[in-house]
């Protein structure tokens, strides 16, 4: 920059002003500067500019579990939509559900002085973040609550969604409903299970632990588990899949089975309307989830300090009952 100043025969600050489009520079001087900039191939170093006291990098960190899962990428998209307008860049990182990796990722982003972070927490305790927050980091947690840290939280109405889905399967006359889900250590999973059990109890249907299969991770895992369940002497007559991967797995295993087996699942699937089998999905706008989180973060960056929590409702959407475009019936909102 100093070189430019010399080349143009002006002061350092004038170059700074011109380069940053600040006002208060005479046009001719600006021209000279611009010329020198061009001649010298000067590029402003944003990092240096952000070095100033208390300043940050105009960047936000997004820590999700897996860039390969449409749920998380929809979130990333929502976050980007809002942060782009404010000229933040988004640094995305996948924790791969590994608490240790998550921790390292988050701390690295902190060192890079991101202004704020949106985190889908994998660790059970985020106490390690509190020091950073005390130092000025702003954080919004997404999809799961956290303990030991100040920050906003954006949640899904998991319990309500599970309740509506369970009611639907019960209303179809099922009493032996299998549940497929991920690890019960994950809060969302516990909530969904709780909703399921609550509705079963209300309907007077006994809860059978043997029909609940937690653990599968990939669709293939889930398909195998489904096949195992169906091979039993007293197989389930309906399935509740607790996330998009489980749903795909269940459906894969059911391809040779008739429509008498009903399936409900959590998370929307973009192509569900094209499936061979009818399907009820607990849906919600995942992009909106990201937008809400980003909005909260931006509010925080603007100065809000009182913690907020928002819960995004879900809707049970029926696919395939009436195979006509655009007629998915929204049956009942969870809240």
């Amino acid at each position: 920059m100093l070189d430019v100043a010399r080349e143009a025969g002006v002061g350092l600050k004038s170059v700074s002003r011109v380069v940053n489009g600040e006002s208060g520079v005479s046009p001719e001087l600006a021209d000279r500067v611009l010329e020198a900039v061009a001649r010298l191939g000067f590029r402003r170093n944003a990092m240096a500019g952000n070095l100033r006291a208390g300043r940050t990098a105009a960047s936000i960190g997004l820590v999700i579990e897996d860039l390969g899962n449409p749920f998380y990428t929809a979130i990333a998209r929502g976050v980007e939509q809002l942060t782009y307008e404010r000229d933040f860049v988004m640094m995305t990182a996948s924790s791969e559900e590994d608490p240790e990796r998550e921790r390292a990722l988050i701390l690295d982003l902190c060192h890079r002085r991101v202004d704020g972070m949106i985190i889908v927490p994998t660790s059970l305790d985020h106490g390690f973040l509190q020091p950073e927050i005390d130092l000025g980091l702003q954080a919004v947690f997404l999809d799961r609550p956290v303990s030991g840290v100040d920050g906003d939280v954006v949640l899904l109405d998991n319990r309500g969604g599970a309740e509506v889905a369970t009611d639907y399967l019960l209303s179809r006359g099922h009493t032996r409903i299998a549940v497929l889900g991920h690890d019960a250590k994950v809060w969302t999973m516990r909530e969904r299970l709780a909703g399921f059990r609550a509705r079963l109890a209300r309907a007077g249907v006994p809860y059978d632990d043997n029909l609940v299969c937690l653990g599968p991770i990939t669709p293939d895992d889930a398909a195998q588990a489904t096949a195992d369940l169906l091979a039993r002497d007293d197989p389930p007559t309906a399935f509740l899949a607790c996330n998009n991967r489980m749903t795909v797995g269940v459906l894969t295993a059911l391809r040779r089975h008739g429509p008498e087996i009903d399936v409900a699942g959590f998370d929307d699937i973009e192509t569900a309307g094209l499936f061979a089998r009818p399907l009820a999905l607990v849906s919600y706008d995942a992009t909106e989830l990201g937008r809400r989180a980003a909005a909260l973060l931006l509010e925080r960056l603007d100065g809000r300090r009182t913690p907020q929590q928002v819960v995004v409702p879900t809707v049970l959407v029926h696919y395939g009952d009436e195979p006509v475009a655009g007629t998915n019936t929204k049956v009942r909102r969870s809240r």
Copy 2:
């Protein structure tokens, strides 16, 4: 850092050494420093460290079209897999297919001194990047070639894929094959169309411009276009959809039609095996596409300068012919 030095009663450089885990510090001194760091809640500022001459931010920029499209997120995932191991952070940004936005995004990332960039180019000319490259930026272009810039390129065998898909439809006896695609300004689209025409010609089937519909963007657009085509006096008997959104649209419009209409599409769809209708898809590993690009970029960052170009092959995968899990028949490789 100076505060820490004072607090520990040591020199500035010693703190730096300890904080960066450099060797050559006596254990007791290190202990004192660590203590002071803890007491003062010191956090190293990575941005300041990277300010030094010629240094960079250990970050790479990824510019794609749309974070909502599984094609691009699969790429992002592949890129992340390789760059994570080298402690780079990934700054992701969507150009939304807007050349102006793309340009702004790229330039912003340059100013943030990313070490390298992986770009799915939307603009037709990237000459504006050459100055940055001359200044040391490393770039890899993905999915489409670019003009006017030095950099590596990772491409898909678009033409070969289209040829195999076209051959398949021809082999099923179709002579009136409709093509749905995005803008012909996009290189991939032109390649796919060229492959289609080449095989038509070879088979002696006349090319009918009226059956080629370019322009739809969303699945809904494509569904509408498909419906329009089917409503003609002499409708097509098969469809070639040139990307995942087109495929979904075509299938949506075809839900009420029998299996006599064949559909082939470009891009894999994760849930295609669950669809009501058989489907042939020109598939490839999009994550691998990202990995290849990242590998090239890392090589460049390690010093390679000779430009490279890699072409990733495609495979035609048949879904739904034989509804059993795991038996998707890979019919023919494009190369």
